[in-house]
């Protein structure tokens, strides 16, 4: 009797263990599509540096449409970018999605991407694509200066991102330099102003800026009055406003415009790995994201990122992209390695 019960217990534990380790987790190996080479099927693995919620929404709808199973590996831009470079031909990834351009350029420069289907490229305006055609923009976000009006008046706001290097700003602005978002902004600065100016600016920032981890945290601190302002991306503010607003209701956003480095619009990228075991489904996924259905999710969902497709407008709550007067930068020229080196040198990493 006792023995039976003990066996029952052991069996139960064993089942849970197996279920947990294998059943649920097992990322299905990317499997080639079935008989018809042009119809996506099977499963794909996406190295996802974009917001998990957004990509999950894309994946769910894509799965509903095509039946292709999508497994996400979440991480940060540079982490996953560097990981792909290290994995090389052995990578199990089929698709790589980033928040910003530098990391995807890194993978591109390592020659790991297959050309994006022409039909997909045609869905996205040229300004959101690299000249190489090996990846494409999937969404965009704008740099902003979030500030707390009770601590700083509109007249005091910086005219340029470069002004934040001024000693007057010591201890008065925040950023999250360890994140890929901010590093993308620095890469734009590097591209626009050169290495020496960037290095100097970073050195001044080391003196002036208060360092937080994550853009949300920066905004939360500004909102709480811990610090007057911070450099973040626009959508954190909108996402919070759409929710409870508890981390943003006391903040406002200041767009630099004037093609200032601070007006930088960062392009999120997507590419298909050349080594993908299921290129048909992978290409179909990218096509879906950049297509009308995928871009609609940007407009209607909770991500508040800008769609890159001409066919879909941005969420009406946001300032239209064309009014932001962003500097023109070829996204494929953004150099993530150089930026990390400079930031390591400046003592942020």
């Amino acid at each position: 009797m006792i023995l039976t019960r003990r066996w029952a217990l052991l069996t139960a534990i064993g089942t849970v263990a197996l279920l947990g380790v294998t059943g649920c987790s097992a990322p299905e190996e990317s499997s080639p599509g079935a008989t018809d080479a042009s119809t996506p099927s099977g499963s794909i693995t996406v190295y996802n540096a974009q917001h998990e919620e957004l990509t999950q929404a894309w994946a769910d709808e894509f799965t509903a449409e095509t039946g292709v199973t999508v497994t996400l590996r979440n991480g940060d831009d540079s982490e996953l970018g560097n990981q792909l470079v290290q994995e090389g031909a052995a990578s199990k990834a089929d698709v790589f999605l980033t928040e910003n351009s530098p990391a995807i350029s890194l993978v591109d420069k390592a020659g790991l991407f297959a050309p994006v289907d022409d039909a997909t490229l045609a869905q996205v305006p040229k300004q959101f694509q690299p000249s190489t055609g090996t990846w494409t923009g999937i969404a965009a976000r704008s740099t902003v200066f979030a500030y707390n009006p009770s601590m700083i008046s509109a007249g005091e706001l910086p005219a340029s991102l470069l002004d934040l290097a001024d000693p007057a700003w010591a201890g008065r602005w925040a950023a999250s330099p360890s994140g890929a978002d901010f590093q993308a902004i620095v890469s734009a600065l590097l591209e626009l102003k050169g290495e020496a100016a960037t290095s100097d600016w970073l050195a001044a920032m080391k003196e002036n800026a208060v360092v937080y981890k994550g853009n949300s945290t920066v905004m939360k601190a500004v909102n709480a009055g811990e610090i007057p302002g911070g450099v973040i991306y626009h959508y954190y503010w909108f996402a919070d406003q759409a929710g409870t607003g508890e981390n943003s209701s006391s903040t406002q956003m200041h767009y630099f415009k004037n093609q200032d480095p601070g007006a930088f619009v960062s392009v999120s990228g997507g590419g298909v790995l050349e080594t993908s075991a299921n290129p048909v489904a992978a290409q179909a996924f990218l096509a879906f994201i950049t297509g009308k259905a995928g871009q609609e999710i940007l407009k209607t969902g909770t991500s508040f990122e800008y769609p890159v497709s001409d066919a879909v407008d941005a969420n009406p709550a946001m300032v239209p992209l064309r009014e932001l007067d962003a500097p023109v930068i070829d996204p494929s020229k953004l150099n993530s390695t150089k930026v990390t080196d400079l930031m390591t040198e400046a003592g942020f990493l």
Binding site: E53, A90, T344, L349
Partner: protein, 547 residues
């Protein structure tokens, strides 16, 4: 590494095996002519057992080897440029400051709490004794989350000290409670008869005798401080570990991350050496047989309210605050947060990893423990210490090493469950080892021999007699590894197969999006999974104190 660990991840030197090993060391092979646990010259251990133990231990050397080899490959000019820079100085200052302030603080609080529940007549001391062990069930990063929810402005060194102290004081408290029960009461009475008052007895007699448990606990606290990521990242406090994780985020496994890892490993070794130096060769065995008398509890008289305030306050800060935050978020989130489809998957997956990891770790720890107890020799002691060394390395270093090694040399293992389990094995082996070793040592060899004289095959004798005896220790060993895995964050983040969602990973992902409401169910589940194990830990620490 992990927010909670056994009170003795590093065993006190076992007095019973010193000296015997020297006798055993005869042949040049180092394995010939050894003695068994009873001190008689016995047979050699099975070559399979030796091979298994050596394999596990060599595996354990991989992370350290990785740090050294990458250091050499990077070359001195690059390495020195990466190490000798202001940022590293900053991190060093933060990390050392954290250790130097927190370790004595946890030691003081741990000892004071142990004394209050163990030696005073405060009402409810039994309840407090259990309650004060419960912070071990709250991972440090959950504790940090609770505190940040309650006091959003927390940041920097002192907040780090606050949260770390509240999370880790049980690591000193538990062994001290156990040791206090073991102390010979007549020794304290002797001090009283020699004119020492309550304070004199405490500082001149009790405290010195608690030196080993305090040192052991303090070492664990130190190692936890060096390896904790989540708790400090949440309050914007940069230590070596948070910086390595950030470097990893920016460069995957670039040279800067490895250089930082090298410095961090040096800090760990420094702690290990410091502790073993302070420990010295001394061991304070109870000298006489003593009297089986329970030490009378002391009334605090006028200080009674202070005693309650201390114990109650400690509990409120360490458990009350995080718990209240979790409950508050859960209340705000309502029923909807529980409908998260990932929740069940994460729970199952976490439990699955925990169970499989615990089983594998126990099975593979067994040969090492078996050799250490039954065939003590320089080899078996060496194998044991290798494993303690590995587990002292922060999880981020071990994970970084295994990611790189698997990607370059054993690609079939890369991003597989097997690799995650191997990482858990390396990180948590000593938890299993300590318990299995103690359990095996308690089994009289005579019983097994009796079974053999009754006609049983040695293996059958082992199965029928010894395993029965040490099953409880094996269970405890498994439970401790389980606890470690359930609350493990950094290594799992780096190594798990794509699509893996453990409770810790999901919690962390929600917290990073400042979705504190969504994170709450995961926090609660981690605590609920850890609580029984923590109680087991507490119960066992009392049990061993009796024998």
């Amino acid at each position: 590494m992990i927010p909670a660990a056994p009170p003795t991840a590093k065993p006190a030197p076992d007095p019973s095996d010193t000296g015997r090993g020297a006798v055993a060391e005869t042949g040049a092979t180092g394995l010939a002519g050894r003695t068994d646990a009873a001190g008689r010259v016995g047979k050699r251990p099975s070559p399979f057992i030796v091979a298994a133990a050596v394999t596990v231990s060599v595996l354990g050397l991989l992370p350290l080897g990785y740090v050294i080899v990458t250091g050499i490959l990077t070359g001195w000019p690059t390495l020195s440029a990466l190490v000798f820079r202001p940022r590293v100085g900053e991190l060093l200052l933060n990390t050392i400051g954290l250790v130097v302030i927190t370790v004595p603080l946890t030691a003081a609080i741990g000892v004071a709490a142990a004394w209050l529940v163990g030696r005073t007549s405060l009402r409810g001391h039994r309840v407090f004794a259990v309650l004060l062990a419960t912070p071990l069930a709250v991972p440090a990063f959950v504790n940090s989350y609770g505190w940040v929810s309650a006091v959003p402005s927390l940041n920097g060194l002192w907040s780090g000290v606050l949260i770390a102290t509240l999370s880790y004081f049980p690591l000193v408290y538990l062994p001290c409670v156990a040791a206090l029960r073991r102390l010979d009461p007549t020794v304290e009475e002797a001090a009283e008869s020699l004119g020492s008052g309550a304070w004199g007895v405490f500082f001149r007699v009790i405290l010195p005798q608690l030196r080993l448990p305090i040192l052991g606990g303090a070492l664990l606290v130190g190692l936890h401080l060096l390896s904790e990521y989540g708790a400090f990242a949440m309050i914007r406090f940069d230590t070596f570990t948070t910086a390595i994780v950030e470097q990893y985020r920016s460069t995957f496994n670039g040279p800067a991350a490895n250089a930082l890892a090298g410095v961090l490993v040096l800090l760990c070794l420094f702690l290990l050496i410091g502790e073993s130096g302070a420990r010295g060769r001394s061991r304070y065995a109870r000298i006489g047989s003593g009297v089986a008398r329970v030490t009378p509890r002391r009334s605090l008289r006028a200080f009674t309210p202070v005693g309650y305030l201390f114990l109650g306050g400690l509990f409120a800060l360490a458990i009350g605050v995080p718990f209240w935050s979790v409950i508050r978020w859960l209340y705000q989130g309502g029923a909807i947060v529980w409908t998260d489809a990932v929740l069940v998957q994460a729970l199952l997956q976490t439990v699955g990893y925990g169970l499989v990891g615990a089983a594998v770790t126990c099975v593979l720890a067994f040969p090492v423990a078996f050799l250490a107890v039954r065939y003590p020799s320089r080899l078996s002691r060496g194998l044991e210490s290798v494993n303690y060394l590995t587990s002292s390395l922060p999880g981020i270093v071990t994970a970084l090493a295994l990611v790189t090694i698997s990607i370059r040399f054993v690609q079939p293992l890369y991003q597989t469950t097997v690799l995650v389990i191997v990482t858990y094995l390396l990180m948590f082996l000593p938890r299993a080892l300590v318990n299995l070793r103690a359990g095996l040592a308690q089994v009289p060899v005579g019983l097994e021999e009796a079974a053999r004289s009754l006609g049983k095959h040695p293996f059958a004798a082992f199965l029928s007699v010894t395993t029965r005896f040490f099953a409880p220790s094996a269970l405890a060993a498994g439970a401790l590894v389980f606890l470690g895995i359930v609350t493990e964050l950094t290594a799992t983040l780096l190594l798990a197969p794509s699509g893996t969602r453990t409770l810790a990973i999901q919690f962390w992902s929600k917290v990073n999006d400042i979705n504190y409401v969504g994170a709450a169910p995961y926090a609660l589940l981690m605590i609920v999974l850890s609580l029984p194990v923590t109680y087991l830990l507490f119960a066992r620490s009392r049990l061993t104190s009796v024998s």
